[in-house]
Amino acid sequence: MPLNDIVIVGAGEAGGRAALALREAGFAGRIALVGEETHPPYERPPLSKAAIADAATPAPVVIGDGGRLAELGVERIAGVAAVAIDRRERRLELADGRRLSYDALVLATGARARPLPLPGAELALTLRTFEDALRIRERIHAAGRVAVVGGGFIGLEIAASARSLGREVTLMEADSRLLRRSTPEPLAAALEARHAAEGVEIVKSVRIERIAATARGVVIHTSEGAREADVVVAGVGASPRVELADAAGLAVDNGVRVDGSLRTSDPAIYAIGDCADFPHPLFGGRRLRLEAWRNAFDQGAHVARALLGETQAFAALPWFWSDQYDLTLQMVGVAETGASVIARDLGGGAQMLFHLDAEGRIVAAGGLGPIEKTAKEIKLAERLIARRAVLSPVALADPAASLKKML
């Protein structure tokens, strides 16, 4: 059946990109892009960095330079939530009572910041939207002491932003090390050392018990005693927004479950970006759900092709980065599938790690340092991973051995 009406729920990177990619691929039918936020789709990565730390009042970094969606005839329905999917009638119901008919529906509902599971959690700011960033920015600019709960990317980036503004920063992490979920130990340790050198107080293996308001800020009661701060920000992960899919009876696991074409258990409905739980063909069909700009971008582009009839499975590699101070951390591939790790010292405080599986095939790489030192190596590693290359550990460890020549 030819597609005439495509409705996209969620106007973030994934949803916005899908709309642009559909038009760029020649789709001439109706595209409705439904988003709860009033802004046009914008990039979230700057929210923990430039939006907080820059002297100038920030504006959202809009995808496709502002007017592009309108130019391409994408109908934007902004500031309205989607509340239900009628799969039989193929209609999406909005909070204001409107109903949108679809031939194909794309769920790009994203994730929401996880609240702290403790009394006083509402006193901790969390980051997801541009408005969240503005709120955190105002509070940090007015503060002397900033407490950050959670040693993941968001927490560390906000700590670096607050430190660059000269604030006293304490970062608290429940685990015995930072970034356990995402980052190999040597790179996490190097980042931690940099934060310490910048003057961030890092408290690990700490349990937060409750947060209470004081006359000028908050007091955070922990297993290591009480700490006062003017503002507390929590970055303790995000949960996929699956309610719409769940209520419609779609298969939901760690996110909305999709196949290699990003199609849910209903062939007329797709899911992409932070909310999608998808199989990766390069890693034995291992299921992944990625909260990352690059994945949102790639899946937005892929779903457009899938909607227009391409059958190739989504195979872009997981890839993410984090900017802290003048360091960029970049990770590509799935490190958990590796059996051994090879380090390469790039000099000038930059290093790379390569993860090889039991057959010596490169399955992941990580880089930390100034981006001009690591970016080329990461990009080459990405190509080597995609080719499932078997590489010599000796050569990988040698900074003089060109990765380009291994392609």
Partner: protein
């Protein structure tokens, strides 16, 4: 009036690679193609102002270090999302053992 400005020695850029060149408050990227021709563009990605010289050159494409925006460095053409604005290009030439660009 554009002028030819000395950038570097011939051997300072590897084949199929790129060098950052700063001059009078502006930043440029100077490329050596796989077949040893030289090219120059503005130094910052048109997407989020990242220095392109940190990126990867493959054939006639420069890939931005940050978001993988791709440009043809010979023509400046943006090769698709997330970059949609072309790069400004400059003429480059070899004089003796030096690389010069016209800016």
């Amino acid at each position: 009036m554009p002028q030819w400005i000395d950038v570097c020695a011939l051997g300072d850029i590897d084949a199929e690679d790129v060098l950052r060149f700063d001059h009078e408050g502006n930043t440029y990227a100077v490329y050596r193609s796989p077949d040893d021709e030289y090219f120059a563009t503005d130094g910052l990605c048109t997407h989020e102002k990242v220095h392109l010289a940190g990126g990867l050159v493959m054939d006639d494409i420069i890939e931005c270090p940050k978001h993988n925006g791709r440009f043809n460095y010979k023509t400046g053409a943006a090769k698709g999302a997330p970059v949609c604005v072309d790069l400004k290009t400059y003429r480059a030439k070899v004089q003796g053992t030096r690389v010069l660009i016209e800016i």
